[in-house]
Symmetry: C3
Subunit: 376 residues, 3 copies
């Protein structure tokens, strides 16, 4: 409207034509070029991203023959994602995100969600079937540098599917169906019995029934993945998670029980995570985590892949099986400094971890972590 306004002001005799022209001229000279979406149906378009730089050092030890005795350290780009999201019309949102790493790029998540039905959103595309409290938390928001090994062991890979999610008062429900084969592959392989995995989630937010400085919630998730075979996208036949979170003032605690049956070995596996935290100041948070994973079958559990797994796996190239067991325990203590919430933060932590097999110690390790995380 600038040019129009200037013309109006000239017409009304409040500024001179020369004044108007000088302003028009200088304006168009400096007019910046803004990036736009290509088509006018697009009502909103943002660019987003996250970058996570990470240091890790692990010092393992073991009595097992040939087991890891070497320390391992690295500095790496843990995650780097660039994405674009927006809406076509009022009610159709899209969100496409790319993994962009030195070793290659691919589609991390790519979804379209219809939000036009009251109380229910319908989505389609590649996303994560979610099981467990930590998996339900974005990697930009987790308060330990790595999720627990229990969380990782029960986690499902992102895959292509469809889902619906709805809220009714304090209750939230999600139901999804995903390709059950070929993790991170777009396409179901042509088996006799192509199959899907089903993800059901229910949450209850008790915060409205509690005093003002308290919040709490209870969450149940399951993935049903029957008729699985060797091309499985998810290693469990079925898995379950029951979790709760409670916050009062600067203190909070999360507990998570996970259990399920592996398709191969038919082992029953149980995981437990307990994670208390405390805000020393609004920007400084202390976090502890107890991480427990137990299998009723020996050699079905490994070690946290980042970073103990790299050291242990390396030596397993020899003849050591120190990285296989039936009982994992890990204790983590860390601190997070929130320079600007989850948009920019520095994290540090140390973990002591053990793996046993049939009651025998396999490997124990101390891991030291440091992280710089940003998003835009």
């Amino acid at each position: 409207a600038d040019a129009q306004l200037l013309d109006t002001l000239v017409a009304n005799g409040f500024i001179t034509e020369a004044q108007a022209n000088s302003m028009k001229g200088s304006s168009s000279d400096k007019d910046p070029v803004y990036v736009t979406p290509k088509r006018s149906d697009t009502k909103k378009l943002v660019i987003r991203g996250r970058a996570q730089f990470q240091f890790g050092y692990v010092s393992p030890s073991s009595d097992v023959d040939g087991a890891p005795t070497n320390d391992y350290s690295t500095f790496e780009i843990r995650r780097l994602r660039i994405g674009t999201q927006g809406s076509l019309y009022q009610n159709l949102k899209f969100d496409f995100r790319m993994n962009l790493l030195p070793e290659g790029a691919n589609l991390d998540t790519g979804t379209m969600v219809y939000t036009g039905i009251d109380g229910v959103d319908i989505g389609v595309g590649k996303t994560k079937p979610v099981i467990g409290m930590e998996e339900a938390t974005s990697s930009t928001d987790i308060i330990t540098i790595e999720r627990s090994y229990a969380a990782n062991f029960f986690a499902a890979e992102k895959n292509v599917g469809m889902w619906a999610e709805g809220e009714a008062g304090p209750i939230a429900l999600v139901a999804g169906i995903f390709n059950g084969e070929n993790e991170n592959d777009n396409v179901i392989d042509s088996d006799l019995d192509s199959h899907f995995q089903y993800n059901l989630r229910a949450g209850f937010d008790a915060s409205d029934y509690l005093p003002e400085d308290m919040s709490a919630g209870i969450f149940f998730d399951t993935i049903q993945n029957q008729d699985n075979d060797s091309d499985e996208a998810y290693q469990f036949e079925q898995s379950y998670s029951l979790g709760a979170e409670f916050e009062v003032g600067a203190f909070g605690i999360m507990g998570n029980l996970l259990w399920g049956t592996l398709t191969e070995e038919e082992a029953d596996v149980t995981g437990v995570v307990v994670m208390p935290w405390f805000y020393v100041t609004p920007k400084l948070q202390i976090v502890g985590q107890y991480d427990y994973l137990d299998s009723n079958t020996s050699d079905t559990i490994g070690v946290q892949s980042r970073y103990l797994g790299r050291a242990a796996i390396d030596d397993a190239k020899g003849d050591s099986d120190a990285d296989e067991g039936d009982k994992w325990q890990s204790w983590y203590l860390g601190a997070n400094y929130y320079i600007s919430g989850n948009n920019l933060k520095v994290m540090g932590g140390v973990a002591y971890s053990t793996l046993e097999n049939e009651g025998t110690d396999q490997v124990e390790a101390v891991t030291v972590y440091g992280a710089l995380r940003m998003r835009f």
Copy 2:
């Protein structure tokens, strides 16, 4: 110009300094950050993309020993592309698009086009040598969920090259030269005889000579690909397409004849596509397609790769050659609902297909398709 205008108005005594300052202040407080191109030479920059989600189910049958008897179904991201296009100066346009899929990312097309010569555009980069009516139509605009097998069989992969295109009244011409080896590889391999493929296209738009509610066009394409060898980017020595399209009111029909000689086997292959359509309402379109492919040499033709090919190829891992033949026929009937033209649409269709070899039935199949397609 806002600040300048405000200052002028103050100088001219029409608003007070306080009014001006309040407007300046509130403006800069809320100023959103807009994404811009890095350099001021860039006169335009847009972000664009397309996402295509697709369901397929195929039920094949055959009398051939060991041939497919299994049904196959999938839900997949058929295409997901993100791109940026713009112009340096008035006459130099660039357009870079990325394939972004769960299985990886790469450059789909990347072109620079000089539009400063009257009537002729000169381009350079990676794009598609085009042969055939359906290949000339973007995947966002095709009216069947998959292009015909005839179209796919004659299609050339995108490759790096140079081209010129011009228009003179109702006539349009395109001439291009492309790397003839190593499809989707950037670089010509160092053979004794590196070679190129040549693409020539001519179109005649008869619409100006027809009554107002009619439009029609005739199109001729060829790819000349002599001196080919085993690293060929395109499987034909030479190929030709003659096509026509005619629309009157809500009704339209496309016909396409394709023929050429394969480099290996030296088989002569002929394809025919006939595709009528009808708009029941401005948003609902019915489409039929007859798809025919014939070779004078047995075992040189296969089946539509999506989705029959996945089922048939799978069993061909055994000893069946039910997916090789010399005569393919397919009948497709579909409906498209245009929520917002080609920016957002839902498509459904069903196809009945047969493959014969030397007069014997190899495989017959029913395929059911569903698709959701958007672009921004």
Copy 3:
């Protein structure tokens, strides 16, 4: 502030309410959608990219048995990169760039830099440890179509690390530590002795001490890469570069001496580059380059990989070792036409190159180059 300004003008009685409304209405009707960053912490966000299209033809000859006798030519996308850069707050800059090529996509560079300390910037992420005058020059700014073989031979791959860079008057210093293993892999492999490479750089800009139409600088770089093994990211145990640049009026010259010891073979290698240039007009530049590489060990030096390497390597599949030697020399003469500085330019050049081994001619070749380079 437009709407506010209009309201103010109405309130002050200088335009009518109808005039104001008409301007408001027409403005909001046409409001374009601008792309924005997702989060308000992001103070700046730009989209950038470069595209480099390139033609090469090489005609080699040799007396060595089985050595290349074939000419080789190609047209290719030399580089295509798309990136996004911006700042979180005043002092934290990020810059993420993707290689986007027909053969795939990955992270080219991805950095975060803190600029809040006076005189020193601290960076983290994937970038290039820099050694040599040409490696210190971006591929958008180099004045030969390819960097010299001496520069390429001493160059280090981009890798993940941390660095600090500072300036004090005419002196600039950079110190960096990078992963020393697995070039272009994010992660250090779990060897007994994971190791790092160290990059130190110092520059002295003498321009302030010279007459106005002169500029000059001297630059020293080193990479220290001890404890290297077979997974090395960089082939030198240690390497050094001493370079100088001098410009007077339209004339300039660069000289660079490089030396170092290879980890394998423990060969001592020396490189020399001399590159004069002259601006015939402000847009037309003539460039010459002498490129010399010498090793004290036979068979440790090859040939410029683009494009002689492709021809020579091809025939080396036979039993020729014409592409191995101990002494490389190359003479390049080229011209660059700057349509818009380094934002858009056309380059052409021709090189005569020889490789010797123990005083015997291995291969000699003429290479012709052409290039179109743009950035946005």
